[in-house]
Subunit: 423 residues, 2 copies
């Protein structure tokens, strides 16, 4: 699996000496004094890079990076050829950027008479653990009854707009899309740089539909990571499936070979569920800590279930307190637990976001939820129906954006994103 | 000066053991198994904390942290008493949060029957170099002809709405305000937590007017920091006044004792200029590297002036190339240079931002410019008039937000933000 072995990245900085020298001779034309261009950029110590190529796409079970830039695009051409060319160009650029090298490599940085192949704001930064994960929305296959790119017969049966859930208040301008790219990195500048350069390569072929910056991870994807906190102030993702639980990944994350005869190209891939979940921060902040903990089902300091133990102790839903079960019947933990969801476990990599304040001065903030599921019909929709109708937390939440994307399997070197779909 | 000596912070994590135990006895009421609550949070190594109290406010010459959350508030009460009470509450909360401790301290975390004094999402994180810098807008002194809080006679003469500059396209919803808070930290979750908790303390007294998240610093404020890049892909802030240049800080940043007889309370403070500068990213990205460098006046790889040398070499504006001066007459570096601005040097701490995409699919991104100046009439407005009318870069920029705030001097322990103004 590509994502299991971080390696020390090739730094963009190492390339700068050459680019700088090229700049000197090709560009300014004044000689001799600019040849030592060691950049005093940020330290490269400790930041891994992840292979773009592999069995599965990186950015799924990869240890959750700190920052996110997620973008959804609409395809604005009717040309299948142009779409394929973009996916090929994206493949190459993604491989370069995740390795910490500029788009187009060193050569392109020397061309002074054309726009630079790389936009430059990540020069001197290292790979910062960047991963780029690509997905296809249902409208890529069919839109308004049109089989736009000859892909309709290969549309996965589960790939359709998510149903309306009880508490949804979706903004169409923050929902859906033909293509998505999830950029995760430890340095947000690296994630933003990646999305910007992909958008730029797509000029004339795609248009950015919406994007979301996430400033703090709210999931651990490996057992070696500590559990972060969401903007409710509680640890989030304690019960997340972890990368080490490979049996559960096969059961709940990776699409199997025989899952969908129409879409064998998706085998080894997954479905990406994106939900922009606004929190009614101000209301939550006026709720007693006792009430908050009862709604979540965990204590705030440690994240232990209210039935006792420590963070990773299994909750005891039968244990009674003086006022009924210690794990309230409408608590989030109970309603999201495998025991009330036909054994389903969820694999998430969500991010906290804030986008300023709304017209009433309230924080526009919450959780940008991302889950990777083997089958949304089994592993997401039933759980979300249950949560949105029964979860006591829903009083403080509102889903304002939504998307479902089919995430093809990993790309083999020499291949390109979705090649099997277009084959 | 408070900001010169980072010290190892008291971690919120250390407090969690106590809070956890309190939770156990006061809250859940099931005994004995939750007393060891060592949190597996992020490492505390390497992240300093800065004293909130000092001669000058922290967050000005403090080494520029990586992330920003900036907020502007409107005061929604007519009560001077309530306003003062808020400034006092903000003082205490700011001192706590910048030390890495929860708002309200440990005791408040044990109160289970009331809303928690701290919203919790920074529990387990350390101070992360958090600084909180407070400012007063002109409308705090007078609005619609009203002397709202009896402060009008003390309004600094330079504290008024910035004039309209040629390329301005300001959004009133992203401009001005009665109060501002600049939160800078290495971890954005810590900065967001700080603004959220200040907003919460202000409920009923202030309303958030606008806010801006900045994901990457674009200035160095000390000689020990490397120069970061803005979203044009170029190093930004090479010529910034640095914390070590104390004579220039006195000349260009700190308000002097005799600067303004009406506003002696501002002595030792500064003026904060905030400008949200959108970049026409897509147009810039289609410009040749040669043209980009000529517009900036520096090469992209290293940031050296086009007249030669390395990054910190002084530009030679007279040096001729084959097509005229190597430093173009409309280059940004030339027009912002002290030699064309009556000797003025600017002290900035700006941040890159992106707020998704606009209705046309273009990135809503750019630079959130922050400068601290001794006198905006001398040290900012003339320079910005020159830049906005002559700078070749302006073709790629649009100012979409603006604010000017008077930043009182540092707060002495036992005092509170702006006490001298209200005395």
């Amino acid at each position: 699996m590509s994502t299991a072995s971080p390696k020390s990245g090739i730094s963009r900085r190492r390339l700068l000496g050459v680019a700088g020298a090229g700049a000197l001779t090709a560009g300014v034309g004044v000689g001799g004094f600019k040849l030592t261009t060691a950049d005093a950029g940020k330290s490269e110590a400790g930041d891994p890079s992840y292979d773009f190529y592999g069995t599965h796409q990186a950015g799924i079970v990869t240890p959750a990076q700190d920052r996110l830039h997620f973008a959804s695009f609409d395809v604005i051409t009717d040309s299948r050829e142009d779409l394929v060319a973009l996916l090929q160009a994206w493949t190459q650029a993604a491989a370069e950027m995740t390795a910490g090298t500029p788009v187009g490599g060193e050569e392109a940085a020397r061309s002074y008479d054309s726009p630079p192949a790389d936009t430059g704001e990540a020069l001197g930064l290292n790979a910062s653990g960047l991963t780029l994960t690509f997905g296809f929305g249902p409208t890529l296959f069919e839109k308004g009854g049109q089989d736009r790119f000859g892909l309709k017969e290969r549309q996965p049966k589960a790939l359709r707009e998510l149903p309306h859930f009880p508490a949804d208040n979706l903004d169409p301008a923050r929902s859906n899309g033909d293509l998505c790219v999830q950029a995760c990195a430890h340095d947000p500048q690296v994630a933003v740089h990646a999305i910007r350069n992909l958008a730029r390569l797509g000029f004339g072929t795609v248009s950015m539909r919406w994007a979301q910056l996430g400033f703090g991870r709210t999931s651990s994807t490996t057992t070696s990571q500590s559990t972060p906190r969401n903007l409710l102030g509680f640890k989030d993702g304690t019960a997340n499936v972890k990368a080490e639980e490979t049996d559960d990944l096969d059961s709940f994350v990776w699409v199997g070979e025989d899952d969908d005869p129409r879409a064998t190209w998706l085998s080894g891939g997954s479905y990406l569920v994106a939900r922009r979940i606004n929190m009614h921060i101000e209301t939550w902040d006026r709720t007693s800590l006792r009430e908050q903990e009862n709604l979540v089902g965990r204590d705030r300091p440690e994240g232990a279930p209210l039935s006792g133990g420590t963070e990773f102790t299994e909750p005891d839903f039968d244990l009674q307190g003086s006022d009924g079960p210690l794990m309230a019947v409408d608590s989030h933990v109970r309603l999201a637990h495998p025991s009330t969801n036909n054994g389903t476990r969820l694999f998430r990599r969500g991010y906290n976001f804030t986008d300023g304040s709304d017209a009433l001065g309230r924080l526009d903030a919450g959780l940008f939820f991302i889950a990777f599921v083997r089958d949304p019909d089994t592993h997401y929709i039933p759980m979300q129906n249950q949560l949105s109708s029964q979860d006591g937390l829903m009083e403080y939440l509102q889903h304002t954006g939504s998307g479902l994307f089919a995430v093809p399997p990993g790309i083999a070197e020499g291949s390109w994103i979705g090649e099997a779909l277009f084959a």
